[in-house]
């Protein structure tokens, strides 16, 4: 039988939050073995596995670890990004809740690979239960003397999407507002406290022990050549069985949404799919056979991102979807770069006008123009993450946007599933989102 589970292997049969149980499935054996190996040998396994970062950027994990200078006189740091907050994504949470020791073991192996003595796990502040589970696992590992002289600190965030961006995370961890830094220098050279720092996602770290166990080449046989291995995909929205599912990369959206997720409920029609968290371009229903792999999603004009699939049925108004997504990025913009800070607000204002039926036809192009003036003009990808999806909604559902303009009102007539959704920005004073500056 082919291997289908890597990350969550054993977690259905045993309570792997307990060290004793984790030992029963070979837990920490790979850490012991890795510590006998030269760091370069571990990097070679990671390279052979072609593991690519699961936070959403898909950068080769072994290559990134290789950027850490071996001869640096400064301490080296490993920072694990557990600040999961991309809308639609809840897989790191599942991994931390069910296999916390695998996260710790993978982190310790990776720390050894870059010769780091300090590991920080930056976990989003809202994840209190997950923090407690991870802390209990860490206490057990420390008690069992598995840390091997490494200092591992669990650091809780406090509610800021931008701290999932690697340099925003470092600023936050240094005790500042989490505003991203200019790159270069890259964190591998000048990261935490100005020292070489490797930043990896929770899921990436939790994959490492199994790569060591199977061998990189064997791991690379899973999934597709460009997207090896498995991922925990987060399925949500208008689908019968939402949840996290670990599947090989290359599984199609149709298999996930229909065979596993039970399809669209209430006899509704599939309208659109967001395949990689709210930052990526939308797909239309006819693209449901696209595989969840890096290359295939690129060809389809989107991205597999954080592995979060949001299913949207025919009750949803796409303009309202755009408005809600734009409100999120406006709320989360750190304010450092003007195109993002101002542009996300303009997007919200224009989308309000379109939804309310107050916009002229040329405002659709104005909206695309605003997106274009954000794209690639900021220090970090947050602005791009707002511009790319919104532009894709206009491109792919232009007729629906036009219908709002022509009719002077929302064609859903108050019946859209996203009607009047009250966004957090609306409850903040000093956030006038409706008026357009003249």
């Amino acid at each position: 039988m082919p291997i289908s589970e890597i990350l969550l292997a054993g977690a259905s049969e045993r309570d792997l939050t307990k060290l004793e149980e984790y030992h029963m499935v070979g837990g920490y054996a790979q850490l012991a073995r890795a510590r006998e190996l030269e760091p370069a040998a571990i990097l070679a396994e990671l390279d052979a596995s072609n593991l690519r970062g699961r936070g959403g950027a898909f950068f080769a994990t072994g290559k990134k670890a290789g950027f850490i200078p071996r001869d640096s006189p400064k301490p080296k740091y490993l920072t694990v990004n557990a600040d999961e907050s991309e809308p639609g994504t809840f897989k790191d949470r599942e991994i931390m809740l069910r296999v916390p020791h695998r996260v710790i073991e993978g982190s310790l192996i990776t720390a050894h690979a870059i010769e780091a003595r300090h590991v920080f796990i930056y976990i989003r502040g809202e994840y209190l239960t997950e923090f407690e589970v991870l802390r209990a696992a860490l206490d057990e590992a420390r008690e069992a003397e598995l840390l091997g002289g490494v200092t591992l600190v669990l650091h809780r965030g406090a509610g800021a999407y931008i701290c999932g961006e690697e340099t925003g995370l470092l600023e936050s961890l240094e005790g500042k507002r989490g505003q991203p830094r200019a790159k270069p220098p890259y964190p591998a050279i000048t990261g935490l406290y100005g020292a070489p720092t490797l930043i990896n996602n929770v899921e990436t770290m939790a994959t490492v022990p199994k790569i060591m166990e199977l061998g990189g080449e064997e791991y690379a046989k899973l999934g597709t050549p460009d997207s090896t291995g498995t991922r925990v995909f987060s399925l949500s929205g208008n689908v019968v069985r939402g949840g996290n599912y670990e599947l090989p990369n290359g599984t199609t959206l149709r298999e996930l949404i229909y065979d596993i997720g039970g399809g669209v409920p209430d006899g509704r029609e599939l309208k659109a799919i967001i395949p990689g968290g709210s930052s990526v371009q939308i797909l239309t229903a006819d693209q449901v056979d696209t595989p969840l792999s890096y290359d295939a999603m690129r060809e389809a004009g989107s991205s597999v991102g954080s592995g979060a699939i949001i299913v949207i049925d025919d009750r949803a108004c796409i303009v309202q979807l755009g408005l809600r997504v734009a409100q999120f990025y406006m709320h989360e913009s750190c304010g450092k770069c003007t195109p993002c800070r101002e542009g996300t607000r303009w997007m919200v204002q224009l989308l309000h006008r379109i939804e309310d039926g107050d916009a002229e036809e040329d405002e659709l192009d104005l909206l695309l123009d605003v997106c274009d003036r954000i794209l690639g003009h900021c220090l970090c990808p947050l602005g791009d993450a707002a511009a790319m999806p919104i532009a894709s909604y206009v491109d792919k559902f232009r007729d629906e946007f036009r219908e709002h303009v022509r009719a002077g009102r929302c064609p859903y007539g108050g019946e859209s599933s996203l009607e009047r959704v009250f966004a957090p920005v609306d409850q903040h004073r000093g956030h006038p989102t409706v008026e357009v500056a003249t």
Binding site: F90, R124, T129, G159, E174, K176, G178, G243, S417, Q427
Partner: protein, 153 residues
């Protein structure tokens, strides 16, 4: 409290890194929000100015710069939850509590807020009650949750 913060700070190579845990400790100590004196205390413990501490606190959504109720009800209205009826759940809370999002009930018992994606998207609507996730919550579950909070108050 200052000693407690300094103990937390010992985990970090640089004490300033402890500002988020420090602000969290101060917020818990001050009834769920950060009054001006909290910034003086955190600043003293970490050798930072109160203004710096407030500047950091104001960046993060989980720090409250104004008083909040004894209980906090936070409801996700991001896309996945919105698609499956978050707005109806929110309206049920508004009706049951008699407040709008961002407001606190007159008796000071409950603050209602909407929040961005809480990371429970497959089990929407996600409602976070006093920092613990309830998922999924439907509009018909709301009276029970509010009653539970009133009983616990």
């Amino acid at each position: 409290m200052i000693d407690e913060i300094r103990r937390v700070a010992e985990q970090y190579p640089v004490a300033r890194s402890a500002i988020l845990p420090a602000l969290r400790i101060a917020q818990e100590r001050h009834g769920g929000w950060l009054p001006p004196e909290a910034f003086e205390e955190v600043g003293e413990a970490l050798d930072l100015t109160p203004a710096y501490c407030k500047a950091v606190a104001s960046f993060y959504d989980m720090f409250h710069l104004e008083p909040v109720g004894r209980h906090l009800v936070e409801l996700c209205t991001n896309v996945s939850c919105a698609l499956v009826g978050a707005q109806q759940v929110l309206e049920a809370f508004e009706e049951e509590l008699g407040v709008r999002p961002g407001e606190t009930t007159e008796d000071g018992a409950v603050t209602l807020r909407t929040i961005e994606c809480a990371g429970g998207c497959g089990w929407g609507t996600v409602v976070v009650v006093d920092h613990r996730y309830r998922e999924p919550v439907r509009a018909e579950d709301v009276p029970g949750i509010v009653q539970e909070l009133r009983d616990a108050d």
